[in-house]
Amino acid sequence: MSSFGFGLVTAAVLALATVGFTMQFAVTNVLNLAYGSVMINSAFVTYYLNIHGVPTWVALFGGVATGAIASWLLNQFVFTPFQRRNRPPITIVIVALGVDLVGTFGLQAIVGGSYVSFRQSPGHEYHFLGMFFSGLQLVILGIAVVVLGIIHWLLRYTRLGKAMRATSANPSLARNSGVKTKTIISTTWLISGALCGLAGTVFALNTGVFEATSAQLYIVLLLAAMFLGGPGEPYGAMFGALVIGLSTEISAAYVNPQYKEVIAFVALLGMLTFRPYGIFGSEKTL
């Protein structure tokens, strides 16, 4: 049962990350494989603010801003130029992979290879229903619930959110309806990038100790969660994250925790084979 509690927190972090990742794919058509490196860079910004005396939960906003700005820049100066030249999607995927390596090992060159951790005590230990949570974990769970609620509200009830969904479903028709899709796409990078930065920070907080390459394999979990729920489906992403988060932690309790990504990868392969549009998804249904 304690691994279930762990799994919930892992799932909450993964849900934050996957929703941003899937929004990028849905609205802007970029499978941003550099997502993990933006996460870890954001985590390090939070970390440096933190060790220079900024309280973790304030420093977190530095990480969020880093994710938002880095992602926006990435779109503006890397992905959009390639898309404008009508390069096939595989080109963008390869470019993103390159960016991921540069982002990760560039960071490593700057911060070094050693493990670090936040100045943040895990707080009280709480237990209910046979599960143990640290105060820190409860805060992470709370952040995830609130932020995902905000994303839900944004997508369902706001003009911006509806324009994002319209742009995802039919960009050409969106423009004919007066939607400046370019602005919507930029805004999507800011919002999804903020989610990425937030996810990176809480991922690092949840891990406890981390270093520049700690999020290297996270992309496997992201892809598994995204494909499980249906690519481009934010609600599917939340569901997929829950399944992947729980199953990887619970199975890690029984087999070697090193195999987490392997388990996620097997789930991903299964989805790609049997339900490439995910459990809920049709082709693209933000």
Binding site: R175, N176, S177, G178
Partner: protein, 252 residues
């Protein structure tokens, strides 16, 4: 139609227009003109460039030469969202709705350029025109029948009270009765209200019945143009578009 849905029309005209994909012209030397209060139709065989022509008018396909004018404004190669803002409503032949969005959300996106508080009243006005949409507001557009979907697609452009309606084969895949109703009641109705209607239509006979002027496209060029009653007398036109040989009965 009991509700005033469109603004007074504007003239939409092209001169020596050529347009196409990847720098290659599909349509050339096009001069067409659509005026307020009229239905101007474009007919022609599949692949003759009808859709390409309409797309070039609304900013979706690049204009390679010549001009598109809306009233006095030159809108050649303007961004689609700007052309929408100027009052041109475009219903594409395919992909004419946002499938994962509800009917209501589709209409709201149609009214994207309006102030938030104007939208509910506009939605109501559009529903007056297409009452069938009323009890399917929460349904996803992708789940509608062909006829309902076309009504939604038209309803979406009516949200902005367009001066000019550009419709690409609105009756494709519709049952004949629904198609006739759509053309005679709605499309003709828009013109009666003073809008400018530019209509591409496969059903030549039905198109002629509601048109004030018709252009015939062939191989990317205007090969024939005229008032419907004259085209109905033209043996070449009758042969190719009105089902060979038999002269159609005069429609009015």
């Amino acid at each position: 139609m009991s509700v005033d849905l469109s603004k007074a029309g504007m003239v939409l005209a092209t001169s020596d227009l050529s347009a196409g994909y990847d720098g290659r012209a599909i349509v050339s030397e096009i001069a067409v003109e659509a005026s307020p209060g009229q239905v101007i139709s474009i007919v022609g065989p599949n692949g003759s460039g009808k859709s390409t022509l309409l797309k070039s008018l609304v900013g979706v396909v690049k204009v390679l030469g010549g001009h598109v004018k809306l009233g006095d404004a030159d809108i050649t190669n303007m961004a689609p969202e700007e052309i929408a803002k100027l009052g041109v409503g475009y219903v594409p032949q395919i992909d004419d709705v946002f499938p994962p969005l509800s009917v209501k959300e589709n209409l709201e996106i149609g009214g994207y350029l309006l102030a938030r508080r104007e939208i509910p009243a506009r939605v109501d006005a559009v529903l007056e025109v297409f009452p069938r949409l009323k009890n399917m507001m929460t349904r996803k557009a992708g789940k509608l029948s062909g006829g309902e979907r076309k009504m939604l697609a038209m309803g979406r452009v009516l949200m902005l009270s367009p001066s000019v309606l550009v419709l690409d084969e609105p009756t494709a895949n519709l049952a004949p009765i629904v198609a006739t109703q759509l053309l005679e009641e709605y499309v003709r109705g828009f013109a009666e209200h003073g809008s400018t209607v530019l209509l591409v239509e496969q059903r030549a006979k039905a198109a002629l019945r509601i048109s004030d002027w018709t252009y015939v496209l062939g191989g990317g060029r205007v090969v024939l143009a005229g008032a419907p009653k004259d085209l109905e007398q033209n043996p070449v036109f009758v042969e190719s578009f009105l089902g060979g040989g038999t002269r159609p009965a005069p429609t009015k």
